[in-house]
Amino acid sequence: MSDAKDWPLWEVFIRGKGGLSHRHAGSIHAADAKMAIEHARDTYTRRMEGVSLWVVPSAQITASDPADSGPLFEPAEDKIYRHPTFYSIPDHIKHI
């Protein structure tokens, strides 16, 4: 199938269970949002992976430029005081 005839690409996000965030699972092709949900369901939740789905047109996602990764991310490297490692986390807090 040529690119011109392909359905648009959508990114799929799945919430594994209540309380967790949606996480990126992969991508699917679909003609519109309704079909995208169906295809995401049929492709990525066949093994009880989720309780909620988000689909987003891939073209709507703006990514950071890998060439900018130095200025974007390296300044955080020496800010160790931003990590919450000086606190003890109670055992019953599962997702933080």
Partner: protein, 252 residues
Amino acid sequence: MAKASTLFTYALRLGDDSLIIGQRLSEWCGHAPTIEVDLSLANVALDQIGQATHFLALAGAIEGKGRDADALAFKRDVLDFTNCLLVEQPNGDFAQTIARQFLFSHYQALLFGELAQSKDERFAAIAAKAAKEVAYHANLASDWVVRLGDGTDESRTRMDQGLQWMWRFVDELFVMDEVDAAAQKAGVGVDKAALRAAWDQRIDGVLNDATLARPASRRPALGGRKGHHSEHLGHVLSEMQFLQRAYPGAVW
């Protein structure tokens, strides 16, 4: 209290319907228009084969002669199959497959909704689980009917032709013969004839959204419940049963 032979046949019919449409849909595996649609059809097929496994196992247990679901699926010949004629019809193109699924899944959705209220908790339990599956199948198929019907000239023509092909097999779904009547009287089975009005309403609603006309009524094709099948079922079975015929008792 219904006779065991009545309940055996009743379970067998439900199992055969699901088994044969599951096998038909499986023929698409690896051949669908896109990989996503391939997965959609395979998921529906697996749901149907799961239902068939439950209903045929129940039929075998009611019969009490030691036949399990596999024995009933793979070791009966064509005249002993009791599925409706609709499910054995050829896949044709994608639209024809969708037409078959659309008509059948809405029937199953109504049927299992009622069967889940059966006095016989074995039937009720299978139906309650299957009702959620077929509700999704009905939505999926309806969605495609609208997309194809209200799509391009070509997709519209194909969707229309698919419905024309399948329409003569609709009436059989709602026939109440002596087995159905006895099962219903015992509080086990469903009054299928009473489902027709709700089915018509569902189908007409989707066809309206799809800007498609309801096919004209034709002389209905009947006989599947008695083993009088179209020439297509033998070919379905020859592929489905090949392994157990060639290597009896093979397991993996």
